[in-house]
């Protein structure tokens, strides 16, 4: 065992030794420096290992052989070991990363770096407040020194600002130290903490001064302009160290000093933390410079951690876990991002598209972003989960709201950035050069995130049960990404089928989950089959698709809320990448992600309330929510409704589904949307009827569903883009489902299930076929198509059957839904909602006709003459689904009866079967007979026409009665564009994009506010100093001045 004191000794010794070297021997110097950094990293790592594995007790190190208060003492415990290891690792990697720069600037800078890392170590370890001050100062000076690594003019300015501000702060800290010494008679932190300075007259001032300076060191919003500039101006390699190392150390200082003031001071930490978290994130939304953006993000994360410290008395034993898991995510992600920024060398976010030249780096970039937002499987996910759960048990709703709001704002800019990197044109003027010393640190940090995430997950209640097997499969596909599509597709399909078989054995008695398992995994197989017609490797597609399906499976399997939420987020992440693959998908993927994250936070809030109601982590906890019951259910419903794209939350869908790739659209539309449906069904089953708030919620949701249907269907009517039309149609169909399940009767739910199954089948067919056609014809615009029936008869039949189902025309299965709907609505008494629903249902015919007419009928365009039928790999799954539709249509009783029986557990039975005939109190319906009657009659009538027909002359497209003239061109004869102009004139006001306008103005408001607010960062260092002073004054007035 190497004593921790060697960390200081070796670092300082080396620093002096470096000073003795000739200034030209930079190679030797850098080797020595790296060796030193490696050594101290080894020492702290060794201690960490001891604590973790051997359970060693905390060690106190007394310098000069005296005990406190007569000597400075250091402590090496679990926490210190962990933090110093983190700091030293960051230090080592940064040193490695910066090695070229350091060599260029000379040996002195290496010395400073060593001293800097050492000072951070001491800050963490020391138990002496004055020693703390000294090393804080040393770290400040070292920081200011290292900023000079960047020889740009603005680095000088930034360093100057930093020096002035920290000078004021440290002066203040000194006064605080001397006064607390005066009152407590000791400089030892433990003794200070035990001294109850608060109780002494005037002691509060001492504590105030210490706290304000400690907090100011953490760069609280808005008194942090000086800190941001350093992040911006310093070399990214060093910014990484500031962000990960200094912040870590600074937070630990705050943590160490927390007991000094006791609980009365905690709320101030929380408030300042919250302000910093939200304020900095707001600033982040307006940043164009990646480093500055990362600076704001760093500060916001520190704010969040400060909040957590402030809430430590409420979080109890979990504080450290929460703080650590968020800290480590911030640490690794921010360091990684800063280092990446040094590799990319772009002064604006748009330049990051260059990452696409090196897909693995893009992957790492995504990893860091997702880790920052708190997606699984990264530690921050678990930390945030635990944080929110604990806050909810303490009924601390305000802080929950603020944390989630802040996180959301953070997502706004981080995902914008990620979207830029994934979708913008690769800039030609930026070159990414591979340098192992720069790439290795990035790799390691990403690896850290995954490892730690896996490591911390069992520490959360319920986290031990998370099923990582699907994720491992995804990982395997990542590894196999170089293989051609055919192989990967086969592997994926085989894997899914295997897993489905396995899953079914677990779901034996749960019909609802079985149905959704068929939709999710069966749908996955069918839609993946369409992938066989793609060529090349299709890089990145399969891992992401499988990630989405893994998430979907996880939702079905989940027993606890954590597992559910975990899978939900995995699914969201996977689908985001799938959606953003489309050519013009960037803005749509972005809005999808934002709505998803917003929805996920609503879910999180709801889950937290459920957890807090009975400290029950299973999903069954949704059944007995006692805290803010109505709000909880509303939030959960809203959360799920972001996925079902209900009214108000639907604006992401048309673009996301419309612009996605041809086989991604069916995945996200036919399958992914059902995740929201599954969630809603689960929620409503647990919620049940009869509660006052619940019933009101259901009533509102019923209206929302009805209006969603209307808006979705009307929106589809006026689309010219085939896939957008289908996307709007999805909104409408999901509105039906929301409405149906909101009815909360057996009939309503049967209708809901019918719609779910139907929508899965027909929307998969439609998106597959139309997607295939869109690709083949090279246009989304329906008015540029036409006449495809002759070229693609099989596609036409598939689409025809689908639209018959959508329209609810007997004898196909769509009618089952309509019939159940009418009966459910009249039984329930929701007449007007019902009327809206049926109005919308008939509007569906408008867009269905437009779709099939514009694409398949009418005039064939010149450039499509040589078209062939679309790929059989698209048609095969479509026709398999058609077989499904036909079976469902001919034997609805076979499927609906078991569902009805399952539902009769939850709802009074309102539908019974006699053979193939269904009865309600209102009427009856016999799908099988209808099928027989219609088929027979149709065949007879067809026979009649054939019998009466004469020899038929088949004519060409322009052989039409055209006032005895010829049409000029097909384009001028094909009636499709704005075909419902008259309708638009009459009811077009209903499609005013009110919701879009609302969200647009909301985001404009946010950005304008951020833009207005950031004017405080005027760039003038005196202003920044003034901010510091004002911060002190305001804090004083609030904390002690009675404000």
């Amino acid at each position: 065992m190497v004593a921790p004191i060697y960390i200081i000794a070796v670092a300082l010794g080396l620093a002096f030794l470096l000073g003795l070297l000739k200034s030209s021997s930079t190679n030797l110097g850098s080797l020595l420096m790296l060796a030193g950094l490696a050594f101290i990293a080894f020492v702290s790592g060794q201690w960490l290992y001891e604590f973790l594995i051997n359970g060693r007790a905390t060690e106190m190190i007394f310098t000069a052989g005296f005990k406190p208060p007569f000597s400075i003492n250091l402590r090496m415990g679990m926490q210190e070991a962990l933090l110093t290891t983190m700091i030293n690792a960051a230090g080592l990697l940064s040193g490695l990363y910066l090695i070229d720069t350091l060599k260029k600037t000379g040996i002195n800078s290496m010395t400073v770096l060593l001293v800097f890392v050492m000072s951070l170590n001491v800050i963490v370890m020391t138990r002496d407040i004055f020693n703390l001050f000294v090393f804080l100062e040393i770290s400040s000076i070292a920081t200011a020194g290292l900023v000079l690594l960047s020889s740009k003019g603005n680095a000088f300015q930034a360093g100057m600002k930093y020096l002035i501000a920290t000078g004021i702060i440290s002066g203040l800290f000194l006064i605080g130290i001397i006064f607390s010494y005066l009152y407590a008679g000791s400089l030892n932190i433990d003794e200070l903490n035990a001294a109850h300075i608060m109780d002494i007259k005037g002691g509060a001032i001492a504590i105030f001064i210490i706290y304000v300076s400690v907090i100011l060191e953490l760069k609280p919003f808005p008194a942090n302009g000086w800190g941001i500039d350093v992040y911006t101006a310093a070399k990214p390699g060093f910014s990484a160290l500031i962000s990960s190392g200094t912040a870590t150390a600074g937070l630990y200082v705050a943590y160490k000093l927390l007991p000094l003031g006791g609980e009365t001071w905690l709320p101030y930490f929380t408030i300042i933390g919250a302000i910093t978290f939200i304020g900095s994130n707001l600033m982040g939304t307006r940043q164009q410079n990646p480093n500055r953006l990362l600076g704001y993000s760093s500060i916001s994360q520190v704010g969040l951690l400060l909040m957590i410290l402030g809430l430590s008395n409420q979080l109890g034993d979990n504080t450290l876990f929460i703080a650590f898991s968020i800290l480590i995510s911030h640490y690794a992600a921010k360091a990684g991002l800063f280092w990446l920024s040094g590799i990319v060398k772009s002064q604006n976010l748009e330049g990051w598209a260059v990452l696409r030249k090196q897909p693995f780096m893009l992957f790492l970039f995504g990893t860091f972003i997702f880790a920052l937002i708190g997606f699984p499987p990264f530690p921050s996910f678990f930390g945030k989960w635990q944080l929110i759960m604990e806050l909810a048990t303490q009924e601390n709703y305000l802080w929950m709201t603020l944390i989630l709001t802040g996180s959301f704002i953070e997502a706004i800019y981080l995902f914008k950035w990620l979207g830029f990197a994934i979708k913008l044109d690769v800039p030609s003027n930026i070159v990414m050069k591979f340098e192992w010393n720069k790439y290795l640190p990035v790799y390691l940090m990403a690896l850290t995130l995954y490892v730690i995430g896996f490591y911390v997950s069992p520490m959360v209640e319920g986290g031990a049960f998370i099923n990582y097997i699907p994720l491992l499969f995804v990982l395997a596909l990542f590894a196999l990404d170089f293989l051609p599509v055919f192989v990967k597709n086969t592997i994926s399909i085989a894997g899914i089928i295997y897993y489905m078989v396995d899953l079914f054995s677990q779901l034996e008695n749960d019909l609802m989950r079985q149905i959704f398992a068929v939709i999710f995994l069966g749908g996955a197989v069918l839609t993946l089959m369409a992938g066989y017609n793609k060529k090349g490797t299709r890089a990145g597609f399969y891992p992401m698709a499988l990630m989405m399906f893994a998430g979907l499976t996880g939702i079905i399997e989940a027993n606890s809320m954590l597992e559910f939420f975990f899978s939900w987020e995995i699914m969201t992440a996977g689908s985001y990448f799938l959606i953003i693959r489309g050519k013009r998908s960037m803005p749509h993927g972005y809005s999808y992600m934002l709505f998803s994250i917003g929805g996920a936070y609503a879910l999180l809030f709801g889950f937290a309330l459920a957890y807090a109601s009975g400290l029950d982590t299973t999903i069954a906890a949704l059944g007995h929510i006692t805290q803010l019951t109505t709000l909880a259910y509303t939030l959960l419903a809203v959360g799920f409704m972001t996925k079902t794209a209900s009214l108000g939350l639907h604006i992401w869908l048309p673009g996301a589904h419309g612009e996605a790739e041809s086989d991604v659209s069916p995945m996200v539309s036919a399958i992914l949307l059902k995740a929201g449906v599954f969630g809603l069904m689960l929620l409503f089953l647990y919620m049940g009827t009869g509660t006052e708030g619940g019933d009101k919620l259901l009533y509102v949701l019923g209206w929302v569903g009805a209006l969603t249907t209307l808006v979705g269907n009307l929106g589809a009517v006026f689309q010219e883009d085939a896939k957008r039309l289908l996307a709007y149609s999805s909104i409408g169909q999901l509105g039906y489902i929301l409405f149906a399940v909101s009815i909360m009767t057996q009939l309503g739910w049967l209708a809901g299930f019918t719609y779910t199954i139907n929508h899965f089948m027909f929307k998969a067919i439609l998106f597959l076929v139309i997607g295939g056609i869109v690709v083949k014809l090279g246009t989304h615009n329906m008015y540029e198509m036409g006449g495809m029936i002759k070229k693609m008869p099989f596609s036409f039949i598939a689409v025809l059957i689908s639209i018959i189902v959508i329209g609810g025309i007997p004898p196909l299965s769509g009618f089952a839904g309509k019939w159940l709907f009418y009966h459910a609505i009249i039984q329930k008494g929701w007449y007007f909602q019902g009327a809206v629903i049926f109005f919308a249902g008939i509007i569906a015919f408008l867009y269905l006709f437009k779709l099939i007419h514009s694409v398949f009928l009418g005039q064939l365009k010149d450039n499509h003459r040589n078209m062939k039928e679309i790929s059989p790999w698209i048609l095969i799954p479509s026709y398999l689904l058609i077989i499904g539709i036909m079976i469902f249509s001919a034997f609805p009783q076979k499927i609906l009866q078991p569902i009805g029986e399952m539902l009769s557990v939850y709802f009074p039975e309102s539908l019974h079967w006699e053979g193939t005939k269904a009865y309600t109190s209102l009427g009856y319906w016999d799908g099988t007979t209808i099928m027989i009657v219609v088929m027979t009659a149709f065949i007879l009538l067809l026979g009649w026409l054939v019998l009466m027909s004469k020899k038929i002359k088949k004519v060409e497209q322009f052989n039409i009665v055209y006032a005895a003239e010829r049409p000029f061109r097909p384009e001028t004869t094909h009636v499709s564009y704005n075909i419902y102009a008259g309708y638009k004139k009459a009811v077009g006001f209903l499609v005013t994009p009110v919701v879009e306008i609302f969200w647009d103005s909301m985001s404009a408001l946010l950005f304008d506010f951020a833009g207005w607010l950031r004017r405080i960062y005027s760039g003038n260092m005196q202003n920044y100093a003034l901010h510091v002073v004002l911060f002190i004054v305001v804090f004083y007035l609030i904390a002690l001045g009675g404000l």
Partner: protein
């Protein structure tokens, strides 16, 4: 559930009667229209002659498979409504195949023919066809609003959606008809019927002299014959539906003939008086007066 041959033959007979009555009704209506303008009009047997001629034309062109199937779908739509409608109350023979579904089935079976016709005409490739269909569908969405409201109102009133039960509830004399027991629903339904029959002012699907003659522009000969056959059946079947819903149904053929005639006459009567709407006027109109009446028809039951 009776799938026997006898049942089939009875139904076929019923269909035959309805077809002929439909043709007679249409010629009568045209004669009435002629008399209004001071003419004699067509002979009463003209529809039969026209039909014979259409079926006997000697050349036929086709734009494709869907063009060919369109009229079949259309005819199936009309025949289907007839098949699922209990045409004579209390009669086993004339209840057709109404045991397979209730009112909702008929409401949605209307779309069967519409869709098929739309697709068939669409494949014809004539611009007027598409324009006519787009108008027809647009108008139909709003026609169905008062109709839906009326149906919901009836369902609340009678607590059933079975047509036979609705008719049964109206038995017992003139005053027990829905017309008197639920006049608002009847009003909404009868206003929506104006659109469903497509006479002036709502004849903008075919819109003679404007987009001559809308969807069937390309249809001729046998196709047109099938369409005309359907027209005759459909008019009677739809009128019979309204008769069942609002006017006490019919217990025998005579009653059916009188009632369907009067119901159909209502739309012809309005048609001879009013000129054609533009599409947006029609859409707006249906969303105003008839819809409001329909809403009130529900509100009074709340």
């Amino acid at each position: 559930m009776d799938y026997s041959i006898t049942k089939f033959l009875w139904t076929l007979l019923g269909l035959f009667i309805v077809l002929n009555w439909g043709m007679l009704m249409s010629s009568t209506m045209r004669r009435i229209g002629a008399r209004v303008s001071g003419r004699f009009g067509i002979p009463w047997y003209q529809p039969w002659i026209d039909l014979t001629k259409l079926y006997s034309l000697k050349s036929q062109v086709s734009h494709g498979a869907m063009f060919f199937l369109g009229p079949v779908f259309r005819l199936m739509g009309g025949v289907g409504i007839f098949l699922f409608l209990p045409i004579i109350y209390g009669s086993d023979h004339w209840s057709n195949y109404s045991f397979s579904g209730d009112l909702i089935l008929i409401l949605y079976f209307q779309f069967f023919g519409m869709l098929g016709m739309a697709l068939g005409a669409g494949e014809g490739g004539h611009p007027h066809s598409a324009i006519g269909i787009s108008r027809g569908l647009s108008q139909f969405t709003t026609i169905e609003v008062p109709m839906t409201l009326a149906v919901i109102s009836l369902a609340i009133q009678y607590q059933t959606l079975s047509i036979s039960d609705i008719v049964a509830a109206q038995q017992g004399g003139f005053t027990t008809w829905t017309l008197w027991t639920n006049p608002l629903a009847t009003a909404a339904g009868m206003l929506s019927l104006l659109g469903a029959f497509g006479h002036s002012p709502f004849n903008l699907v075919k819109a003679p002299n404007e987009i001559p003659i809308g969807p069937p522009t390309e249809y001729h000969g046998v196709f047109l014959g099938v369409l005309r056959t359907n027209g005759a059946i459909l008019h009677v079947a739809e009128a019979a539906l309204f008769m069942n819903l609002f006017f006490g149904g019919a217990t025998n053929w005579v009653e059916l003939i009188v009632k369907t005639f009067l119901i159909y006459f209502w739309s012809v009567f309005v048609g001879t008086v009013f000129p054609r709407f533009r599409i947006e006027q029609s859409v707006r109109w249906f969303l105003k007066v008839p819809t409001i009446i329909g809403i009130i028809a529900i509100i009074i039951f709340l």
